[in-house]
Subunit: 191 residues, 4 copies
DNA sequence: AATGAATGAGCTTTCATTCAT
DNA sequence: GATGAATGAAAGCTCATTCAT
């Protein structure tokens, strides 16, 4: 594995710093410093600062596709399946989670970022619907399935978003259980 | 109705601009301009820029208390009750919704803001639990009730947060239905 | 002893703060705060900030007069006498020493302060000449006496000035010995 | 002699302005203007204003070393030798005299400057001791030599300091005579 | 292709001074 | 006589961006 080229090093540095400190709070000079490249090179590859963020979104925030569900769905266990999907989404690529945090924060200020967020939400909903479909052994009404998926996606995004905000993280596994019940999973013995 | 004093005008201006453009992206000079006061006056009342935000949080973001549930809960209709609660929280005071958006975005960058966000989440969870309690006519396990409440709070916060991000808003009413089902509401005729 | 009036309290506060932090680095607001008076009152009594300093010099930096030599001169012991004089100058009024430090620093920037410094030096020289006169039992040439006095005054001022600058203080007692030798004091047994 | 580079021009301008008006009273903008460079360039080379002063001290205030005594000491004439040394210290490099004035004034306010002042005093004392050693043809007690040196250094520093304060300069040549007498120079015929 | 010196607009903040009451 | 809200000029500093080399 050769040393990453300098363009890649710049993107690596930007990804980490944007996630940690925020886009606005990160001077391009610090990106260059963290990437150990001359300052001019950053602007050679990315003429405007926003291009750093845009490139990150395009190259490093792939739309999650249904194939990541392979192996994580346990038929008959929707709650466990949703949780496993969430884990796969987040753990497979920790930085992309951070990047999602960034787009949340910047989507208001930088219109170019919005469509990425919209699309991310849309494909997460589709992914979750697919996961539910594969996990339940009974039939779920189309509308309910959509609502359940959207609910879980909100929790996942809130989780990602709250991650940096610090403090009590929302309980994803609880939400998985709630959603599973809603789509008809058998109610466990009272606890 | 007397003209609001100048300190109030400054806070009004800051609230609107912070919500619209973000805290960091709003120069104090523009706050002064929007409030139609000289630049120096902003710093007379709020020595540091962050004090503007902090004051906004303290004076304008009251912790939601259980009494706002009065009159919105319909016993036997948890979904409708949650939705009504959400409407009351958000619509009664449109600006506070914007303010919540702000603290979401700034809580990562400005540590002083975090505790406000944490506390907001905590009291929203308690409020939602109380709403569920009053709305259901049967018994809900303590753990499930908490999970259901946290799920709905995530959706509400995600909704507030996504508001500015633009695009598809998460469907709060769907989430209310999902949560209601999870706590045992009767399943409607299939759709 | 009645509580000092407010004008006095302002001067007290200014004296301490100017000596400790410097004239330029002390905002009038902090003077008011330290004096526990409203900010407007400072400017009521002292229309310009510099008037605070000027008043301090006029009212609190009395020209040292020969009468302070009374009781400190030991005839036949010029070194001891100079040292005692220095002690009397400094200890009698500790704040005035600090004030001298201030005028040193400000005399360059504020022309009004210069004449005070000049006059201080002049009267110190005269005082030291008088002290030498009274302390020696033999005749000292007029020119030498003047040179000896100026030398000792330089050391005293350097001492006052270095006081705040921190670090190794010049050795006033050594200078007293040197000056005494120069005007003919008997050389001690070799050491 | 090529035109000095812009960094040098900035330091030149700062040196003159700091000496003339004081560090605090000199805006960086005026330094830039005097150096005929854009304002941003000052901060490009010297990120904080204090770095201008610190750099000046490091690059332009060399510790005086014993070799500057070469050729100025006249054996048998300590007074003349001290005076020549003083002249060499001050006149050889007029700007460094101004710089010394600056550090005197700023050493109270800017702690980073103190050590420079301490070190300057220390090495001046050592230099003066060496000068006395080489100038006298007889033996001087170690303690007396140190006291004599410190006395003369105080006079030199007071002289440098008083320079800007305006008005009567202390008489360095008189002090040289006094110190010479103290260390045993033959007393001239009465004057 | 690559660089780093250079730039200037714009930011937050400070504070002596004014003045209506 | 007293006051404290009000003001605005000016300060130090940041930084995206440009461009000669």
């Amino acid at each position: 594995m050769a040393a990453p080229d300098r363009r890649t090093r710049i993107l690596d540095a930007a990804e980490g710093l944007f996630a940690a400190d925020g886009f606005d709070a990160t001077p391009t000079a610090r990106v260059a410093e963290a990437a150990d490249v001359p300052k001019g090179l950053v602007f050679y590859y990315f003429p405007r600062k926003i291009d750093l963020l845009l490139t990150l979104l395009q190259e490093r925030l792939p739309t999650p596709t249904p194939d990541i569900l392979a192996g994580v769905i346990r038929r008959g266990d929707p709650a466990g399946s949703l949780l496993a999907m969430h884990r796969r989404l987040g753990l497979e690529d920790h930085d992309s989670l951070m990047l999602r945090t960034v787009i949340f924060r910047e989507s208001g200020t930088h219109p170019e970022v919005r469509s990425h967020l919209r699309q991310l939400r849309r494909s997460l909903v589709e992914l979750t619907e697919a996961a539910l479909d594969q996990a339940v052994e009974w039939t779920v009404a189309r509308t309910l399935r959509r609502q359940a998926a959207e609910t879980f996606v909100s929790v996942m995004l809130d989780h990602a978003n709250a991650h940096r905000a610090g403090g009590a993280l929302p309980d994803v596994s609880g939400a998985a259980a709630v959603v599973a019940l809603a789509v008809g999973a058998p109610r466990p013995a009272s606890g």
